[in-house]
Symmetry: C2
Subunit: 126 residues, 2 copies
């Protein structure tokens, strides 16, 4: 973990868009099924979304046995539509509903302001 760059994604110049995806996994996760394709597909989606023009960044966290939250940031609505319509992403979404998720909610929102704090630094404004 400590070798990997860990977020959070920085603030950007508003306006930009955020897509908040909150989810509960199906039981498979709890009983330790590592072979249901979830991690592999997730890694593939991370690569794919990064190639979408207008994609700004993404943060993810999951409490073990609990809720997962993924927040993606996009320059504009067009970028979100590109990602939403991506064929491989659509296939993964279907599999998510069929297999991986007990429940999820998606909120699409336009960021009006943002700021960041970093220890030892001044406040950073987007």
């Amino acid at each position: 973990m400590s070798d990997q760059p860990v977020g959070p994604v920085p603030p950007f110049e508003p306006p930009y868009y955020t897509v908040v995806f909150t989810s509960l996994r199906t039981e498979a996760e709890d009983i330790g099924h590592a072979d249901d394709g979830y991690d592999e597909t997730g890694a593939r989606m991370d690569d794919l979304v990064a190639s979408v023009p207008g994609f700004l960044g993404m943060d993810s966290a999951r409490t073990p046995g609990g809720l997962g939250i993924t927040v993606g940031y996009f320059r504009d609505e067009e970028a979100i539509l590109r990602w939403r319509g991506h064929a491989e992403h659509r296939t993964a979404q279907k599999r998510g509903r069929a297999q991986w998720y007990e429940k999820y909610v998606v909120h699409v929102a336009k960021v009006e302001r943002s700021h960041g704090f970093e220890r030892g630094d001044d406040l950073v404004r987007g």
Copy 2:
């Protein structure tokens, strides 16, 4: 864990607001300091924010040793301002910068659309 109601917060009728707070804790967490007041203050803030008129709900997730994401939902900007200006919340924010957080970013955004999926249910729209 399984006795507690776990999110995700459902979709609401747009427009409404979301505040995305992504953070990295200071080292204290990694070395298992349970006595730095973070959990206690967090629980108190959960109670307090729930009493703010216009507060709709909140989801949190934290990857062990990694990123934490808290997403709050509010009916309007006034509700966010009430929460931002709450005296006890402001004190907690100061302590967060002084003690608990290595880094954090806040994005304030207006939700334009949302939807939810629940296994065995139809798609739910906000």
